[in-house]
């Protein structure tokens, strides 16, 4: 016990006193808290729209008024010819360009179904698709206004309810997800450095000739990433609730229990990278090569459901994927213990496998 205690104190001091480790410990979380939280939104706001109006009639004016009044639309750029429209799309001056010709006003006046053309920039297909949705809604409501007879006779035909996030605030998704990302970045990089650093600095042999046993060394090395992960988790939990107003509806106990398991699985992976690396440089690259796929396959960048089936199977080995479900569940959905456990036990397996592999490799690679 005394040896483990000395080992833990040393590891903590080494992590806090090493200016390089401080760099990896402090900068990324702070940067993410500000930049990630605000920048990583898949919403499309403030987009610029071009209008090529060769009609100029009352109906088209009504549409354009509604368009410029929409809160999602940034600038409305007036276009005067097909060439101008083409250039505006090509040069990405606008994301979408609306084409209204004379037939439009004539059709509206004659109570015929009228059509508005819109050209969207397919280079940014995701944004374009969302914008097409916005514009379609504007068109429909303008239509209903211009010709009340075509409106649904009474009441809406469908009612939309956004459960767990009534206004579909993107930041309610981003901030809980960031706990997953920041923990994986910090735990993996801190753990990956741990053994590799000793190897490179030549202190490793000094440890090996001491009476420390393998598990004592490894436990000592697990504490700093665990503490930094718990710290980051708490920091984001508090920041999410107070600064960004994200509700936390689940149980704190479940949150921390699953966080510990999540961190253990990350530490296991990081420890494997570390025991396989001879230099800090290799450890850094190794951690990077693991972190990028782990975060991209977590469901944060794109839903897991959209991946091909075989890749979904592979992503089961990614602890981030499981913890993302738990975190979103505990923040927004008051996820019950049973569901939390169903997403926790895969992480338990990952942790058990990676930690024992790291332990075994550490013993085998001592020489």
């Amino acid at each position: 016990m005394q040896r483990i205690r000395a080992m833990i104190i040393k590891e903590l001091l080494a992590t806090v006193r090493d200016p390089r480790a401080r760099l990896t410990l402090i900068l990324p979380p702070l940067l993410q808290l500000v930049v990630f939280a605000l920048a990583t939104t898949l919403e499309v706001k403030n987009f610029d729209v071009g209008v090529l109006d060769t009609s100029g009639g009352a109906a088209s004016v009504a549409f354009e008024e509604r368009l410029s009044g929409s809160r999602n639309v940034g600038r409305v750029v007036r276009l005067h010819s097909a060439d101008e429209l083409r250039a505006a799309i090509d040069l990405q001056t606008v994301l979408a360009a609306v084409v209204i010709d004379q037939r439009f006003d004539r059709d509206v006046a004659a109570a015929r179904p009228a059509r508005i053309g819109v050209v969207l920039d397919g280079r940014r297909s995701n944004a374009a698709q969302i914008v097409a949705g916005y514009l379609g809604a504007i068109a429909a409501s303008v239509g209903a206004e211009l010709r009340p007879d075509t409106a649904p006779q009474a009441g809406p035909a469908s009612v939309l309810r956004n459960w767990f996030n009534p206004n579909l605030e993107y930041v309610w998704f981003t901030l809980p997800s960031l706990i997953v990302i920041i923990c994986s970045v910090s735990a993996l990089s801190v753990t990956a450095q741990s053994v590799a650093r000793e190897r490179e600095l030549g202190t490793f042999e000094q440890l090996l000739v001491s009476p420390l046993r393998t598990h004592e060394i490894l436990i000592g090395k697990m504490v700093p990433p665990m503490l930094s992960g718990l710290f980051n988790g708490t920091l984001y939990l508090v920041a999410a609730a107070t600064v960004y107003g994200v509700p936390f509806t689940g149980s704190l106990l479940l949150f921390y229990t699953s966080l510990v398991v999540y961190l253990l699985s990350l530490i296991g992976v990081g420890m494997l990278v570390s025991t396989l690396s001879r230099t800090q440089q290799q450890a850094f690259l190794g951690a990077f090569l693991v972190t990028v796929p782990a975060t991209l396959l977590s469901g944060y960048a794109g839903p897991v459901d959209n991946m091909p089936a075989w890749l979904q199977t592979i992503s089961l080995a990614d602890p981030c994927r499981h913890y993302l479900v738990i975190v979103l569940g505990l923040f927004l959905k008051a996820m019950p213990a049973r569901e939390v456990w169903l997403n926790t036990y895969p992480m338990v397996i990952i942790a058990a496998v990676t930690l024992s592999a790291a332990f075994w490799l550490f013993k085998a690679k001592k020489e």
């Binding site: 040896r3 104190i9 040393k10 030549g202 202190t203 000094q206 009476p211 420390l212 020489e367």
Partner: protein, 572 residues
């Protein structure tokens, strides 16, 4: 004859340090001779050489290199930095080609120059090998070859022989000596005083100042008549040396075979021999003064003999079996045998030296003996316990100190000590007392809160020793623990070791300093993975040539040569 380089009244101060690295230094380097640059660690040797290359700029004073400003004539300068400056991921041939191109070697001359250099450095066989895979001695030769690829007019060598075995060191010296005929000027910085002794002129730097300049014999002369050689004394030579060093009349002392050699503060005023328990049969005769004597004398003499560390060290109880045992130790890496049937039986209170050229299997043997490597066959044991089972308990009984500074550089001195106290299981209530005692013994008080990495080299070494003995182990493993350390710090280190041995501690040591080998009770010489000779220093000397008066270095080289001759005879 004009000077190849001249430095006059140069000062240099680094931003972070309170002291000047160089303080009004003047020096000249002449063509056709080797100029030595010596001094304790941190004296400013490297700074001075870097100023000559143009890599650093002096704060004041003037520097002329080959008649121009430093850096202007870089085509004609060969420079070998401390770490040789080789690209380890390039082959021998590629390193040479790179420097040939960079220094603008005529393409027509290239083939001849390469052939000559490869011949000269004996690297022909290894042309395609990566520089990183060469042994220390071969790296050193390749570094020199790169510096010489286009015959320079000024050759600057910054401690080229640190961590290199005596055979390679001697070869390097001969190679450089051979160049002098063509009028090359050489500046050679070194911590080896025997090398300095052979230079035409020597500049001795201390704390940034030149404290001596002139032929080495001149410095030796200052100690003439103050050297005595003691033989025929009662008791062990180490005990006598320790007691002698405690006397105010004695400035310095070393062991030479069965004799103890002392440098007196005043000529003709020896210590009271009765007081140091020398016995009645003692013979004291004058001996020749050497450069080293002058060096130590100029720097105020060596440390006293009695080690404060040893005084309250737990006495190791007598035991019957060997303290450290190696039985038929063999290590194979694939088809390569790194150590072949090594047998050592080290008694309690004995210092065993493990010597051998770089890459001969000395490190492999050492690592198997302290449990860092598992032998392919054979066993090693400490205190009668093998590393095979319950290794942690065995490891708790040994102390370990490695050549590379292997403490935690980002942890403070106090934190390092606390860590080692903790992992060696010193009881919590006793930890602080033990740490305080060590801090006092090694005079670490003013550095307690500093990061270990920022300590001066001498203090780093003290801290490393303090951490290695914090749990008062009965067995110490020292792996080139004094590599690159200056003579005064090395003397202090050995006083502690001698003190501990007197308390019954057993020591296994590897070193490239042959004067340190003299402190050993017995020496095992490892060459080409085999244990080619084992015995007391004098036995080895006699084995080498029948003459116990030769230096340990000569004996070492002769024994290696003998082994080579025997192998060749067998092959023929």
């Amino acid at each position: 004859m004009t000077d190849a380089a001249s430095v006059s009244d140069v000062s240099k101060r680094f931003a972070k340090s309170p002291q000047a690295a160089l303080d009004h230094v003047s020096l000249t380097v002449r063509p056709g001779e080797i100029t030595g640059l010596v001094g304790p660690d941190g004296a400013g040797k490297t700074t001075l050489i870097r100023i000559l290359t143009g890599l650093l700029h002096p704060d004041s004073g003037t520097v002329a290199v080959l008649g121009a400003a430093p850096g202007a004539r870089s085509v004609d300068i060969g420079y070998m930095p401390q770490r040789f400056g080789l690209y380890e991921d390039l082959s021998v041939q590629q390193n040479l080609s790179l420097y040939a191109e960079l220094r603008g070697l005529n393409r027509a001359e290239r083939a001849a120059a390469f052939a000559h250099l490869l011949e000269f450095t004996d690297l022909k066989r290894f042309q395609t090998r990566l520089a990183g895979d060469l042994s220390g001695g071969m790296k050193q030769k390749l570094g020199l070859a790169c510096a010489l690829v286009k015959t320079p007019r000024l050759l600057l060598l910054d401690e080229p022989s640190v961590g290199v075995d005596p055979v390679s060191r001697r070869e390097l010296w001969a190679m450089v000596q051979g160049l002098l005929g063509s009028g090359i000027a050489v500046l050679w910085a070194t911590a080896y005083l025997d090398e300095a002794e052979r230079c035409a002129r020597v500049f001795l730097l201390s704390e940034g100042k030149i404290v001596f300049a002139g032929p080495p014999a001149e410095l030796a002369k200052s100690c003439e008549g103050r050297i005595i050689r003691l033989t025929g004394f009662a008791g062990s030579r180490r005990d006598l040396l320790v007691r002698a060093l405690d006397q105010p009349e004695v400035a310095d002392g070393t062991i030479q075979g069965d004799a103890v050699r002392l440098l007196l503060r005043k000529a003709g005023v020896p210590p009271d021999f009765a007081k140091i328990g020398a016995g009645t049969a003692l013979r004291s005769e004058p001996a020749e003064a050497r450069f080293e004597d002058g060096f130590i004398d100029l720097l105020g003499g060596g440390p006293p003999g009695t080690s404060a560390l040893a005084q309250d060290y737990a006495k190791v109880p007598a035991q019957t079996g060997p303290a450290i045992l190696a039985a038929h130790l063999t290590k194979r890496f694939g088809s390569f045998t790194a150590a072949d049937d090594i047998n050592l039986d080290i008694r309690r209170g004995e210092i065993m030296g493990l010597l051998g050229p770089n890459g001969a299997g000395k490190s492999t043997t050492f690592k198997m003996m302290c449990g860092l490597l598992t032998p392919s066959s054979g066993t090693s044991a400490v205190g009668g316990h093998s590393f095979a089972g319950g290794a942690a308990a065995v490891r708790a009984r040994l102390g370990y100190m490695a050549q590379k500074f292997s403490l935690y550089g980002d942890l403070s001195v106090a934190q390092n000590l606390a860590f080692f106290a903790g992992i060696y299981g010193i009881r919590r209530d006793r930890q602080q007392a033990r740490i305080d005692a060590l801090v006092h013994i090694f005079a670490l008080e003013r550095y307690l809160a500093d990061n270990a990495a920022t300590l001066p080299l001498g203090y780093k070494q003290r801290l490393a020793l303090a951490c290695a003995v914090i749990h008062e182990p009965p067995v110490l493993f020292l792996d080139e623990a004094t590599s690159g350390v200056d003579p005064i710090n090395r003397r202090e280190f050995w006083c502690h070791i001698m003190g501990l041995v007197a308390r019954g501690v057993t020591v296994l040591v590897t070193t490239h300093f042959m004067d340190e080998a003299e402190y050993c009770d017995r020496i095992a010489l490892i060459y080409r993975a085999r244990q080619i000779a084992t015995g007391t220093p004098d036995e080895l000397k006699r084995l080498a040539s029948g003459d116990a008066d030769m230096t340990m270095e000569d004996a070492f080289i002769a024994l290696i040569a003998k082994a080579d001759a025997a192998r060749e005879a067998k092959a023929a």
